[in-house]
């Protein structure tokens, strides 16, 4: 009777141990699978995000030794391959330094519309023009101008014109 009881207790202990082992095994397997399911997408997503050049980034402040891009712009200024443009708060004056689109000539333009403008460009030869107040919005009048230019034989000229474009003085 005692031997039978001992044997029964042994069996119960062994079965309990097997049950515990099976439970632990199942738990470990499910944890491993869960970790795999969570970790693999995270690692793949981070790797893709880091490797993907088409992503966009937003930051409060960026510091770098050198920044390269096709275009930079801020609220009122921009820099691209062709020109740097800086505008005033109320968009009534602006400065452009760069290349005009047609013809593609280097130019520096300071404008306070419609009161005055300074143009400096190399259009076949160097040319600088100071323009005064124009006839106003919607008119073709440029306003009086002072021009520094070169004739076709490269002789220098300074020409003063009235608001209608008529020469009022010139040198030499």
């Amino acid at each position: 009777m005692d031997a039978l009881q001992e044997e029964t207790i042994d069996w119960q202990q062994v079965r309990a141990r097997v049950a515990r082992l099976e439970e632990a095994h199942g738990r470990l397997r499910s944890r491993g699978l869960l970790a795999l399911r969570v970790n693999v997408p995270i690692v793949v997503a981070i790797a893709c995000w880091l490797a993907w050049t088409g992503k966009s980034l937003t930051a409060e402040s960026v510091s770098a030794g050198r920044v390269g891009a096709s275009t930079y712009w801020s609220a009122r200024s921009s820099l691209d391959d062709e020109r740097l443009r800086v505008s005033a708060r109320r968009d009534e004056s602006w400065i452009v330094v760069g290349y005009a689109s047609d013809p593609h000539v280097p130019e520096l333009r300071l404008t306070r519309y419609p009161y005055s403008q300074i143009d400096a460009m190399i259009l076949g030869s160097p040319f600088v023009r100071l323009s005064g107040r124009s006839g106003g919005l919607g008119t073709n009048r440029r306003g009086p101008t002072i021009e520094m230019r070169f004739a076709s034989d490269l002789s220098p000229q300074i020409v003063l014109r009235d608001a209608f474009g008529e020469t009022v003085w010139q040198a030499p």
Binding site: L21, A35, V43, A59, E60, V62, P106, E107, I122, P126
Partner: protein, 171 residues
């Protein structure tokens, strides 16, 4: 005798099963430890990469309230600490705004074939228009010069021909 044999077989089976389960559990634990180690390494690597200031970062669009850099470059333009340089993609021409020489901040528009315009502040303001291109003497005076002499504060306008001879001046 048969009962004893059955019992012995059952014991063996159970013993084998326990051994297999223990081995499998040990293996799973080892794998979990290796995976945890790898994950830790990956996370530390990513954190180091993100925190490392010397890295390069490529993005299609970057938006920031403030960008601080030693230089900003595009394929044909460069903005440095004391200079903006714009090169033409079509012509041999360039535009340079420079304070590299702090005594003489300047703006230069140059076309290698057609001439250049220089606006410069030194001891006095200077505006010079130079006609002609690369073949012309780089040290020649401008054909049109507006300047204020630093010594006597006298404003002057001078026009010269291509040989440098004064052909008109004011006053």
């Amino acid at each position: 005798m048969d009962e004893i044999a059955v019992d012995a077989r059952r014991w063996r089976d159970v013993n084998d099963r326990v051994n297999r389960l223990e081995a499998a559990n040990d293996q799973l634990k080892r794998r979990t430890l290796v995976a945890a180690g790898l994950n830790g390494l990956l996370l530390i690597g990513l954190a180091c990469w993100l925190a490392w200031p010397g890295k390069t970062l490529t993005s299609k669009l970057l938006t920031a309230r403030e960008i601080s850099a030693e230089s900003i470059v595009t394929p044909y333009a460069a903005l440095g600490p004391d200079e903006l340089l714009l090169l033409s993609s079509f012509d041999p021409s360039s535009i340079r705004l420079s304070t590299a020489d702090p005594q003489h901040p300047s703006v230069t528009l140059q076309h290698d074939e057609h001439g250049r315009i220089v606006a410069r502040l030194g001891d006095g303001p200077f505006l010079g228009l130079y006609a002609g291109g690369r073949s012309a003497d780089p040290d020649r005076p401008p054909q049109i010069e507006l300047s204020i002499d630093a010594n006597d504060s006298a404003p002057k306008i001078v026009m010269r021909d291509v040989n440098g001879r004064v052909i008109w001046h004011a006053p």
